[in-house]
Amino acid sequence: MTTATVPDPTGTPPARTTGDERPSLASRLLRLVLTQRIALLVVLLVAVVITMTTLSQNNYLSAPYSPSYMSATLINLVPLVLLGLAELLVITSGRGGIDLSVGAIVSLTGMVFGFAYGQWGWSLLAALALAVAFGALCGALNGVLVAYVGFPALITTLATYYAFRSLALVINDQQPISTKPVQDLYSTAAAVQLPFLPESFPRVPLGIFTFLVPTVVVVWLVLARTTWGRRLYAVGTNDVAAEWTGIDVRRTRFSAYVAAGAISGLVAVVTVAQFASARPDAGVSGTGMALPAITIAVLGGVAITGGIGRVAGVVLAALLVVWLNAGILLAVPGNAGTQLQLFALGAVLVFAALLNGITNRRYGGTQ
């Protein structure tokens, strides 16, 4: 939180030499991997897959690390990527943006969805729309407090984390909703054979197509191609300059929190389908969902100081973590494997953060 940069009063950055003398291939590659987060993630991803496959072929693993196994574990990718994107949006909006409440929104919205779909007999589409709208409403509460009232995001979302978590538990006397319609949702979490592809191609969880791909595409389009995306990056990069440029800083920042809430609402539905039950503690049990989501975002190259963050980075970071975790589970079966996953998550995050620090000092930033 304390960035120790001495402002340069003259406003003139030291002139950069535009490399006439070309650096060696090795140092250029190193630079690429260190400054281009996407490149680093791809390298790590390939390394993980090769290592695990090799271990698998030499029978060190309890089950084969095969394409079909890797494909099956993709179901874990859905909530991770979606919430990672939610964090991407709020963190990119700048001024210490962060959302600790996403897990609690998932719990609460899951319950609301459970009521609508499982008890009030709403159609799936209507209930889904309700979930997204309700999630957005929760996000709007965060957004109003952060963008318009001026609360620090960390504290605001800590408070709403408590509030939403509490409401989710109280709303149905801590009872999950697992009526017939909700249980039947489980089929949507099943894996499917892709059309037009050979039988040998592994089956892919349906959620990848119903939730993950559409959300990723939409968020990517919005960030990279729309005026809103431009405004978000502008506000996150320098909100004072954005104000002088005529951008409505508060509305832009507010809408980032709303969008994060809406995505959390989607995750709520995914989670209900995955558990075949609307559980009041779905998003907050254990470490909760916010922490892994923030981890994924940071690992994916989202700068905690705002203004920098790419969808591809988040997707790759999530994929890396999911496939690494899947491998760990096979290498170290049972409880020890689950525990090692914690270690991997923590180590990767600390590593990524330290790396960010080094590249910032050495190359002037990560892209």
């Binding site: 939180m1 304390t2 609360f151 960390l154 408590y162 509030a163 109280v170 940071v298 905690i304 953060a353």
Partner: protein
């Protein structure tokens, strides 16, 4: 009633200035507006609870309240210092877990004496705090990111000690810190007293020593602090180590409050409760401002709400909703005060 009154004497009696031309205070203001508000709110809550549930003002309900708030307030003291420097430590829950499991296991295996066990727990916490401090102060990485990482890493370490089960058959060595008769002197719980002693020491440290004041300078403007000759890195390192040490001590209280078995979920979520107490106490999350007294009051308020909700016969989970509300109100009140002060 037993709201801590450690900071009421303004300034300290022994140093009335005779030759200084300035009349009145020669110290920074001893009590902030937030603290006054908190005392009023807590008093009001206690009054309401006392009227609504006759059982509230009995030792059967006050003592557990004080015992329960102690670990949160204790860690809160360290967290206050960390947040004053502009940092944060979300790994304290994991530190508590590691300290607790190491100590509990040692108690079971080796039957340590009370002082040795406390020392062990505090040391374990200190080492983990040192890890945080080194990474943050010398790796120059945002505290929130690093401590999110170490939260997972420490939890992994802790789980290695747990294996795949709970720690069973913990001896009653820590009864001294517990809710029972052994944990009280003159009816006041030892854990609460220890917390008060630590908080008072921290209050003195923050208020009356150069090192303590430097935390505020760092949080206010780290660059200016460095230029003024403040050892910025060493100070931040100390803040995280202190938080680790206090989390280790808090782990002893946590063991004492539990049964003879310790589950792997111990400490989980502590970080949020502690940060809530600190923030409700008026410490600014952006650094440079905050007080230990406020944090202790914040922890007391949170625990009062939790106890109150149960005593009123409401669903216990409802207390979190009130904690959330209190955070918003506390931060909002602080914001309003800040703004009105600036415009006046």
């Amino acid at each position: 009633m037993s709201a801590p009154t450690t900071a009421t004497p303004p300034g300290g009696v022994g140093e009335v200035v005779h030759d200084a031309p300035a009349r009145g205070r020669i110290l920074p203001r001893p009590v902030t507006g937030q603290e006054v508000v908190l005392v009023v709110v807590i008093a009001a809550l206690w009054l309401v609870l006392g009227l609504a549930t006759p059982a509230f003002f009995t030792s059967g309900s006050i003592i557990p309240l004080l015992v329960s708030m102690s670990p949160i307030a204790l860690i809160g003291v360290g967290m206050t210092i960390v947040i004053i420097t502009g940092g944060i430590d979300v790994s304290v829950g994991s530190i508590v877990m590691v300290s607790a499991v190491v100590t509990a296991q040692a108690l079971v295996d080796h039957g340590l004496s009370l002082p040795v066990a406390v020392l062990l727990s505090v040391l374990v916490g200190g080492v983990l705090g040192l890890v945080n401090g080194v990474l943050i102060a010398y790796g120059r990485v945002q505290a929130i990111i690093i401590t999110f990482g170490t939260l997972n890493l420490f939890k992994f370490v802790g789980l290695q000690f747990f294996g795949s089960s709970t720690v069973e058959g913990i001896p009653a060595t820590f009864a001294f810190f517990g809710r029972g008769e052994a944990g009280r002197t003159l009816g006041i719980p030892h854990s609460f007293l220890i917390m008060l002693v630590v908080a008072t020491a921290a209050w003195f440290y923050l208020r009356h020593t150069a090192g303590g004041r430097h935390f505020y300078a760092i949080g206010g403007d780290a660059v200016a602090a460095r230029l003024a000759g403040v050892a910025v890195r060493r100070r931040s390192l100390i803040a995280y180590v202190l938080t680790g040490l206090l989390s280790g001590l808090a782990a002893c209280f946590v063991i004492a409050q539990g049964t003879t078995s310790l589950a792997a979920s111990v400490g989980s979520g502590t970080e949020l409760a502690v940060i809530a107490a600190v923030v409700i106490g008026g410490t600014s999350i952006t650094g440079g401002r905050g007080s230990v007294l406020g944090t202790v009051l914040g922890a007391l308020l949170v625990q009062t709400v939790t106890t109150g909700v149960t005593q009123l016969g409401w669903q216990s989970q409802l207390s979190d909703l009130f904690v959330g509300l209190f955070i918003v109100v506390a931060v909002g009140a602080d914001l309003v005060r800040q703004r009105s002060r600036r415009t006046s």
